[in-house]
């Protein structure tokens, strides 16, 4: 009896271990088939960090830069716009953030006059139109989201502020964009 039990356990072990090895092998074959859907090497290379010269953008103007297939807005705000944005800090917003948090720092000082945001609406990814909407910031024509001049969502279906990309000031008049972020 006992020898049969030992025999059975051995057999069970072989079945089980064969099954496990087979399952791991099968699962590891699935990965390449899924991974091929992701961004390829060419796409990733084209998304290398980029430097932007800000000295070419006069006050009150903005540029749109295409990076990683999506637009990035660089806005040079006027004094008036800065005042409005600061004053609005106390208003209620869907995704509250003080104006001072919307720009990066250089030498420990927030460069408030520069707003750099990813130019796709946090609702469903349309491109907002500059200098329009109820807050004279950006307005998304697809489903009616209004952003203020700091790119904060003020009205409409978008859940989040326009997303700040990963960037840093190299000098007072140049930035380096190193990555995009997701809205969530």
């Amino acid at each position: 009896m006992s020898s049969m039990t030992v025999e059975g356990t051995r057999r069970d072990f072989l079945y089980l271990s064969t099954g496990v090895v087979g399952a791991i092998g099968g699962a590891s074959m699935v990965w390449p088939f899924v991974a091929q859907l992701g961004p390829d090497a060419e796409t990733r290379a084209a998304g290398a960090p980029v430097e932007v010269d800000l000295s070419q953008i006069p006050e009150g103007q903005s540029i749109t830069l295409k990076w990683r297939g999506q637009p990035i807005f660089v806005r040079h705000r006027t004094e008036q716009e800065l005042k409005t944005a600061d004053a609005d800090d106390s208003k209620s917003m869907p995704d509250p953030m003080p104006d001072a948090g919307r720009s990066a720092k250089f030498n420990g000082k927030v460069q408030s006059k520069w707003i750099i945001v990813q130019g796709s609406c946090t609702h469903l990814g349309c491109i907002p139109v500059k200098n329009s909407g109820d807050y004279n910031g950006w307005y998304c024509p697809c489903h009616g989201s209004h952003y203020d001049n700091a790119g904060r969502i003020r009205k409409g279906p978008a859940p989040k502020n326009l997303v700040l990309p990963e960037y840093a000031f190299l000098s007072e008049s140049s930035i380096r964009i190193t990555g995009t972020r997701s809205a969530a």
Binding site: L37, G38, P39, T43, G47, K66, G69, Q70, P71, P157
Partner: protein, 434 residues
């Protein structure tokens, strides 16, 4: 209802073949001797019409794929090349493009037919659910096909729809990058959509075979909803009766279809799709094709992104639960006086949702003096609530409170006027009975 084959192979070659692969017998029992209820009205012809539309889409699609280039730099130009240079390219493309509209038009009539006559009720639940699966596959196919010409609506439709997946908590953004194959809708996205757009119709074809198989196991429903009791009295053979009727309906449908192809080929589309895709410029109004508008309106009605996506998905998926949400034992709406009213209200609500989906969200619907009492969003919200209430509240309650009319004893009685409860005149021409 299987096994009614009266096929007897005559030649020795046919006998030899039938003994080895009985496919001729299968075709014969499915499309020749198959018993169909004798009271079917013209709403029952859309199954056959849809089958023909699927074949038409596959054939024209294969031909288009021979001339189309799935690359962001060439796609738009290759479509124009099909329109201008390829022999009869304009015809093939217009057939394919308008065929998609006709496909949805027919499928909506087919779905509403099933909803009115209770075709989803036992024992046809699996048949119905397979239909919902086909509908979902159709939506995915149509969406990806619309992206291929790489016009402005193609691109921005793709941006909006793929971004819906970013609403999924935690993994949303990763999923979207894997859908795109990059950081935005771009060439990899176009390539894979082309691949899938070519694949999915064949998957639809597979599910259609299951759908027809399930249909032939449980048998067709009919306008009275009364099951077939006596094959010789209640049914007629598929050929010639249903074949000829389906063929006639198909000719009428094709006149309608070809009117668009030859006289109004771009009427159902959006002019902006003749502008090449520009990833830095969103069109002023992104509007999906008409057949997605009710679902688009539901998406826009919910102020929360994830909530909107779930409501939109739920609006389609809820159809699969219809067999259990409708508690009435009576199948046909013809014998349910209260249901009949709610059914037509539901049809009107879905059409209105479609209209709301095509309008600007802030547009006023109702004005009282200078004040806007109801905006398009508000109206869409009311309609969305009604849409779900129809399935979740009205249908379950109706079955409990409604007093149905008396059913005819059999299909034969309803046709010949021998039954109780159905006036003779009404039964004699069931196709105009609604």
């Amino acid at each position: 209802m299987q096994g009614h084959s009266t096929y007897v192979p005559k030649s020795s070659a046919a006998k030899w073949f039938e003994a080895r692969l009985p496919i001729i017998g299968l075709m014969h029992s499915s499309f020749v001797s198959y018993p169909t209820p004798k009271n079917l009205n013209y709403f029952w012809t859309f199954g056959g019409i849809l089958m023909v539309m699927l074949m038409s889409q596959i054939i024209t699609g294969i031909m288009l794929a021979m001339h189309y280039t799935p690359h962001v730099d060439h796609a738009f130009a290759s479509v124009e090349h099909i329109m201008r240079d390829v022999n009869f390219g304009w015809l093939i493309r217009y057939l394919h493009m308008n065929g998609a509209h006709m496909f949805f038009f027919a499928v909506y009539l087919h779905i509403f037919r099933g909803m009115f006559y209770g075709s989803y009720k036992a024992p046809r639940e699996v048949l119905w659910i397979l239909g919902v699966v086909i509908f979902l596959l159709m939506m995915a196919t149509a969406f990806m096909g619309y992206v291929l010409p790489w016009g402005q609506m193609s691109l921005w439709g793709a941006v909006v729809i793929t971004n819906l997946f970013s609403a999924i908590p935690l993994v949303g953004q990763t999923i979207v990058e894997f859908l795109w194959g990059g950081y935005a809708v771009d060439n990899p996205t176009l390539n894979r959509f082309f691949s899938l757009h070519y694949l999915l119709p064949f998957m639809i074809f597979g599910v259609v075979i299951l759908h027809v198989w399930a249909l032939h196991v449980v048998g067709q429903n009919n306008p009275t909803g009364v099951e077939v009791k006596n094959l010789s009295k209640d049914t007629v053979p598929f050929t010639p009766y249903a074949t000829v009727k389906d063929a006639f309906a198909m000719v009428c449908f094709f006149i309608f279809f070809l009117f668009f192809v030859f006289y109004q080929p771009n009427q159902l589309g959006h002019a902006d799709n003749y502008i090449m895709a520009d990833s830095l410029k969103t069109p002023a109004h992104i509007v999906p094709e008409w057949y997605f508008l009710p679902f688009y309106a539901i998406l826009r009605s919910v102020p929360d992104k994830l909530g909107g996506v779930m409501a939109m998905g739920g609006a389609v998926v809820i159809l699969a639960f219809l067999p259990w949400l409708d508690t009435s034992k009576i199948r046909s709406g013809s014998f349910r006086p209260a249901f009949k009213i709610f059914f037509f209200v539901f049809v009107v609500v879905t059409v209105l949702l479609g209209w709301v989906g095509s309008q600007d969200t802030g547009a006023p619907v109702l004005k009282f003096g200078e004040n806007t009492v109801l905006t398009m969003v508000g109206f869409g919200q009311i309609l969305t609530i009604y849409y779900f209430a129809h399935f979740l509240i009205i249908l379950p309650m109706l079955g409990l409170f409604e007093r149905p009319l008396a059913l005819p004893a059999s299909i034969a009685d309803s046709v010949l006027g021998g039954g109780h409860g159905m006036p003779i005149g009404a039964a004699a021409s069931p196709e105009i009975k609604g």
